[in-house]
Symmetry: C2
Amino acid sequence: MPLDADRFEAEATALREALLDAQFDLADRSSRAVLILLNGADGAGKGQVLNRLHEWLDPRTIATLAYDINDRCDLRRPPAWRFWCDLPERGRIGIMIGSWYHTMLLHRATGRADEETFHARIAETNRIEDMLVAERVTLLKLWLMLGDNETGGSAINTEAPPGSRNNPLVREWAEIDTKKERNRLVRAARELIQKTADCRTPWHTVRADDPLGRDLAVGRHLLDTLQAAVRWQPPRPGVLPFKPHRVSSTKPVLPTLDLTQTLEKDRYEIELADAQARIFAATQSAAFRNRALIVAFEGNDAAGKGGAIRRLRSALNPVHMRVYPVGAPTDEERARPFLWRFWRHVPLRGHTAIYDRSWYGRVLVERVEGFAAPAVWQRAYGEINDFEAQLTRAGYVLHKFWLAIDQDEQLRRFEARKATPHKRFKITEEDWRNRENWELYAAAVEDMIALTSTEAGPWTLVESNSKRFSRVKILRTLADRLEAEL
Amino acid sequence: MPLDADRFEAEATALREALLDAQFDLADRSSRAVLILLNGADGAGKGQVLNRLHEWLDPRTIATLAYDINDRCDLRRPPAWRFWCDLPERGRIGIMIGSWYHTMLLHRATGRADEETFHARIAETNRIEDMLVAERVTLLKLWLMLGDNETGGSAINTEAPPGSRNNPLVREWAEIDTKKERNRLVRAARELIQKTADCRTPWHTVRADDPLGRDLAVGRHLLDTLQAAVRWQPPRPGVLPFKPHRVSSTKPVLPTLDLTQTLEKDRYEIELADAQARIFAATQSAAFRNRALIVAFEGNDAAGKGGAIRRLRSALNPVHMRVYPVGAPTDEERARPFLWRFWRHVPLRGHTAIYDRSWYGRVLVERVEGFAAPAVWQRAYGEINDFEAQLTRAGYVLHKFWLAIDQDEQLRRFEARKATPHKRFKITEEDWRNRENWELYAAAVEDMIALTSTEAGPWTLVESNSKRFSRVKILRTLADRLEAEL
């Protein structure tokens, strides 16, 4: 029986007060953000629920995030990019329409994704959502259910009032037009809701036949979510029993590197120029226009990342390339999951992004220096693999270099930097401190190589005691990789 | 006579040290950013200069910003958007290739812009650059000159080494292919350089025939620029002699408003629904896809901005609409010119952006509360007009509403808010304080209306003692405007 208006008003008034209190608590004293995924049939009232929430809540810390799945400019980056850009910062609430579930379901309904792919996406999505939850984004997943027909009932009538059932504000499923597709969508949605029922953030289904009852139900779910986010306390770091030297059990690879390899000057110049020309040609080619290149540089301090990056830069059209030196995050970055700052700069197709240090900071410096708790950096390997898989699945060529030098060579370079006026800036107290943790860094590198080497996102270990050898190896590896990929 | 390599090395070493010192000073203790506009003929060595600067300077606080003038996704926003997105923050250096001058010159050379338009653009650009300089962005405008042929000499040879004169890294002028266009480009560039020779940031031309000499010349210009940016001191605010009540001399318009106007409930509901349906239809129409709507709401505290925005929101497809409540800037925003936070969220074509308070904060609250010095808010009127002209010239529909209530009505609403639990959040100490400055705000509003009302970006004053009257007037005004524009 539909809710009558008087009872609705009474309940809504009380609910609204509680929601506002919770919203202010979230803004004032929680380190979490709240992201509402608002899904369901067209005509079930997504637009109306949205407007209701904007009526009930303080508009200053709530935002609607909505997407056009066919946006051709968004398609110039991996699909998840648009969602990452909009991720609410701590203390804020985002309401997302047309979330990642929309694409998954649409592809399944139209047959663009087979069942296996669909299941793989659900599994990946569950992992990514677990990551968001761990990174202080509380999720509320709502599915608005129409009784009779999951995908929205009657035909569109543009004469009807905007926002009414036959003229909905949000038209997510306009592309679904055959009965077969409609049935497949209903089945896929049901499966999706079931498959994620036991994960950290289950779906909440809300009956949408009765608009007032629907809005109250949504409001109550949101209240629970906000209060849980406010109650949440960061896990205590606890006393570390010991600094673990390895979490993976592979045979160490760093000791197998032959760091004595060198390259004489004439050959260096010929080979460098050759590799640069190949990289320039590959990245200017028509085949590259729909791909992209992401290169991450990590390495011992003074291993020569800067010099290698300069040689790579000289081989690229500056219009289609950016270099990102990764330093301390800004406050906008700190207020969001750690991968946000990398997602926000994911290059367009046809472009190259070079990272001077990267997202691997979490399992290197943050691990060794204790900036990240063990549980945090240990889960990061999987999170990084998922991140990289999303890039490479979109056709992005991803390559990661570890530049290795030995302790003697590092000492020589530190001393030389101190003595060279225009290199002084390259040597800081921190570098000397890092040097004392050499063994801990080595263990972290071994784990990183063992746990994040993938076919699509390989690590190349670069013997870098000789700068000439190192630069040529890096540029040739990239030239080979690009030619193989294109 | 070209510079010989030994002398270059000697001079470069000293220059590099000085550049690094200046770069660190800029990062550590200057509140200015430095933006280098690197222009000139293809083959004159823009890419090589770029790489040289990246070699000489610390890569952590310098970035290359380069654009593809034909990028179709960038074209979905006003032309200046791409440059604003990338504006370096304080302490940092950006090197821009393909800056706003590139478009101006290309349009002139290909005849897309006539001479009058070209001159108008130069004048506007000078004003915008003055604004950037005032907003703590130091500009260095470099023009690399080839001796023989301004637009680059010989044909492209893709077999030549990347970055050499015949196979340049940067190809800005590939579209210029007739002799007539080439001549027109040379003339336009010469005119541009002359026309801006006497403005705050003149062009520096650099002979590019001799690569080593060219790089040294660029380095020296940069050193001067960095040192000037470091030496710069913010002007002392000084003691205000008085709080000026008006800077414009028009007849006050606020007293002419008939605030007693009301609307009875039945008519309100009919007219509101009618206006909402018209707005929904207009923004869903094919004609709107290449336009965009920007609505700025300003008004007395408690004048009903939030309620009006909610009614407007209900008339829009949430997928193509965002509401931006304007509060305190983030640190990323504070580190850049005040318009940056608005440019960064300029909507795509086909979309609507609603601002709950706006860039007019500079001439309202910042003026009245003294957050901005008189010289700062007084120059803001022109800066805002230029900003809005760039939006409307791109086809954006811009409308600005001032919601006016009288002091008695405001007091009634403040008291009511205190008494209504779910409205308590809307009333703060600051609101009571603002109320005490009623006359100062009124003067600021009169100046704002007088100095920023334009045909393409009109202010509508909204009598808002009656919420119903106010909302209907706003929505009808927008519906009329959209229908007239589309």
